[in-house]
């Protein structure tokens, strides 16, 4: 099937076509022509007021439930959710059942995602069973195609293990991803520690809980000389520490979940467990610091922090509910709603497309004749309201139902897959 994208503004920060209004003709999954006023022939026409097109977006850390927890999310539903959110590629965390901690786990994911519209890249577990004790067969998983190593939502508590992992992957310039969360300091905390948690009588997760591990991982990255990605930061202190580390030339990168850019802890006073996420929604001041960090390049990537959970794990008293919210379908809109006045659309697209692919050393996406089509279609100016019925994820644990967001994803084109939200 031929597809003609009509009169779309191209957002491809590094390309000469950036900012131009063009038609794009795609045939057999390949870009045939980029020009003005291309004759449609019998191609399917995609057009919309304010339509933008950019290289396909990428999320570096998605929780799925496949294998083992398919009632939360399997590979086909995560692909549907990702495509609805404009992502043509995702990296999948190893926190499944069993954990992706061996070559066969990597192969399982590769084989079972082969026919999906969204490219799924496996992240291998750093420790066996993500238990935080002994390193896995990292080299073997790397050879099999693991794009990075992480214990996912199990933050690596043991500094020695983290160091051994970092040293070991140096042999192939591997990347270790860690979520900074010191469990001894979190001590069963449920939300950001501050005025709001104090008035709610809920045990807090102090910014220190994050900062202390951010600093640890910076030190370990410096010592080992390996690449570390400090995933999903949420506090001003973390931004400051990473900014300094980058100035010092340490090989550290970082990311922030979209939701942590839009909502602060004052939203939690009603004890809505869908707002119980990790990292926790922090203060207004933290959001300002995160925005500044995105602007000056301290923060490289925006993530969806997609954590699908079934109702039985969420529709509970606040302290009993699990941490996490789905995010793939709303990540761009949430980020755009928060950042539209402080970052250009090119800067935002870089954080969800070019930067994550570069970090994982994936081939960059070219918007030129003869390239495989790997595109995201979106309308920044469009407003929309999140509705439960539209959710493509198998889980619907999101605090955003009924909320109006700015920036709408129209769909993706990934090779011959054309997935549109209409």
């Amino acid at each position: 099937m031929d597809v003609l994208i009509r009169n779309a503004k191209i957002i491809a920060p590094q390309a000469s076509l950036n900012g131009k209004q063009m038609d794009i003709m795609i045939s057999g999954g390949e870009i045939m022509e980029i020009a003005k006023n291309i004759a449609p022939g019998n191609a399917k026409i995609i057009e919309a007021k304010g339509l933008h097109v950019s290289p396909g977006w990428f999320d570096i850390g998605v929780q799925t439930g496949d294998p083992g927890l398919e009632h939360r999310e399997d590979l086909s539903t995560v692909s549907a959710a990702a495509s609805a959110g404009g992502f043509t590629g995702i990296a999948c965390y190893p926190n499944t059942d069993p954990v992706t901690d061996s070559k066969s786990g990597i192969h399982y994911l590769q084989q079972n995602s082969r026919d999906l519209a969204v490219d799924c890249f496996p992240i291998g577990a750093l420790s066996e069973g993500c238990k935080g004790k002994d390193i896995t067969e990292l080299y073997d998983m790397h050879k099999a195609g693991a794009c990075a190593f992480s214990d996912g939502n199990h933050s690596v508590q043991h500094a020695g293990l983290m160091l051994r992992g970092l040293l070991y992957v140096k042999a192939f310039d591997g990347l270790v991803i860690n979520h900074p969360h010191d469990e001894t300091l979190a001590a069963n905390g449920q939300m950001h520690e501050g005025y709001v948690s104090t008035t709610m009588g809920v045990r807090g997760i102090s910014s220190l809980t994050e900062a202390i591990m951010v600093q640890r991982d910076i030190e370990l990255a410096e010592y080992s000389g390996s690449r570390v990605h400090i995933a999903n930061i949420s506090s001003r202190e973390s931004v400051e520490k990473i900014r300094k580390a980058k100035t010092d030339g340490i090989k550290v990168t970082t990311s922030v979940p979209a939701l942590n850019l839009l909502m602060d802890d004052s939203a939690l006073t009603g004890f809505d467990s869908n707002l119980k996420v990790l990292p926790p929604l922090r203060s207004e001041g933290d959001i300002e610091a995160l925005k500044a960090g995105l602007k000056d390049g301290t923060i490289d990537i925006i993530t969806s922090n997609h954590v699908p959970l079934e109702e039985e794990a969420k529709k509970l008293e606040f302290p009993y509910a699990d941490f996490g919210a789905i995010g793939l379908e709303t990540a761009f809109s949430v980020a755009y709603s928060s950042l539209k006045d402080s970052l250009s659309i090119e800067e935002i697209v870089d954080k969800i497309s070019g930067n994550p692919r570069q970090l994982l050393k994936l081939s960059s996406i070219k918007l030129e004749k003869g390239s495989k089509a790997n595109l995201t279609l979106f309308i920044p100016a469009a407003k929309w309201t999140v509705a439960k019925n539209d959710i493509r994820s198998r889980s619907n644990n999101t605090p955003l139902i009924g909320k109006e967001l700015e920036g709408k994803v129209l769909g993706i084109i990934n090779g011959t897959n054309v997935i549109l939200n209409i």
Partner: protein, 310 residues
């Protein structure tokens, strides 16, 4: 005089959500009920035909008895349910349990629960008046109301009065509800205890912090001494009860060393010889037993006022 004759809310989730007018109205209503329960015939028909479920997902003796007595004095029909929290957590969800009970046509729910926010969670999903009888480390509104009511009885209007809350502030729903209630009534509040038991951000609530017990007592008009809640401490926040008693226990020699008399309160149950010595608990300065008596009247007032919104 209360400026209103109706509460501003259908539920009593916390003191945070109610107004000073609500508090005055509850106190005024409690005055009437206090008179009632001192009559030879202590029962009135105000809540006839109202069914109240007392759901206690955490142990309680005095609060449960106090509520039950208040309900019976008002002629309500009552049913009681108690369960350890863990069995509920692992089996049937709270929502299912409560919906089952509501199917039996219950009008009001009095609930104690170990999870902060559980009554608010419930209020969003079910149609019954909910009274929070303590939710984890969040609030215990009727305790704060009866405490403030008893304080007023002892020292008059609380505007400008100085009250110190002593003990485990971080694990205490009583402390938080007391702070909200006393501030709404114009009192000044200080907290005192070992730093590990004082929330880091408590000052942002407009509360002062004092780590020296003697200084705290010298400052205050009323000392509300909290129980050391070892059962709510999953980690060790204090090294031993012995050391706590030595440095934060209120005893007779300490009170005698002050150049004034202060009112002593305790929400119970008392750890005699830990946070408070026996001679202080039983002294003339102590209004601990008046608190218990007032508890029934205040709870009658809350039940009556919420039921009248149905």
């Amino acid at each position: 005089m209360a400026a209103t004759s109706q509460l501003s809310t259908d539920h009593l989730i916390g003191i945070k959500q109610i107004t000073a007018d609500d508090i005055h109205l509850i106190f005024e209503t409690a005055n009437n009920f206090k008179e009632v329960i001192n009559r030879p015939i202590k029962k009135v028909p105000s809540l006839r035909d109202i069914t109240i479920a007392n759901l206690f997902f955490e142990n309680s003796t005095r609060t449960r008895l106090s509520f039950e007595l208040a309900e019976k004095r008002l002629s309500a029909d009552t049913i009681n349910f108690s369960a350890a929290s863990s069995s509920v957590k692992k089996g049937e969800t709270l929502l299912d349990t409560v919906n089952n009970i509501l199917s039996m046509k219950v009008d009001m729910i009095v609930m104690r629960h170990p999870a902060p926010g559980a009554p608010m969670f419930l209020s969003k999903h079910i149609d019954a008046n909910i009274i929070n009888a303590g939710d984890g480390t969040h609030e215990h509104p009727t305790q704060a109301l009866l405490d403030a009511y008893s304080m007023q009885e002892s020292v008059g209007d609380l505007q400008g009065k100085k009250i110190v809350i002593i003990g485990d502030i971080v694990h205490s729903r009583v402390a938080l509800s007391n702070i909200f209630c006393l501030q709404k009534l114009g009192a000044k509040v200080k907290v005192c205890g070992p730093p590990t038991l004082i929330p880091k951000h408590i000052q942002e609530l407009g509360v002062e912090v004092e780590f020296d017990l003697k200084k705290a007592l010298e400052w205050c008009d009323i000392a509300n001494i909290l129980r050391i809640q070892l059962e709510r401490q999953d980690l060790r926040y204090i090294p031993s009860l012995r050391e706590y008693a030595l440095y934060f226990g209120v005893n007779k020699p300490l009170l005698d060393s002050l150049d004034k008399e202060i009112v002593i309160m305790h929400p119970g149950p008392i750890n005699r010889g830990v946070e408070i010595s026996s001679d202080v608990a039983d002294s003339d300065h102590s209004i601990i037993l008046q608190q218990v008596e007032n508890g029934v009247a205040v709870r009658m007032a809350v039940l009556f006022l919420l039921a009248s919104r149905r």
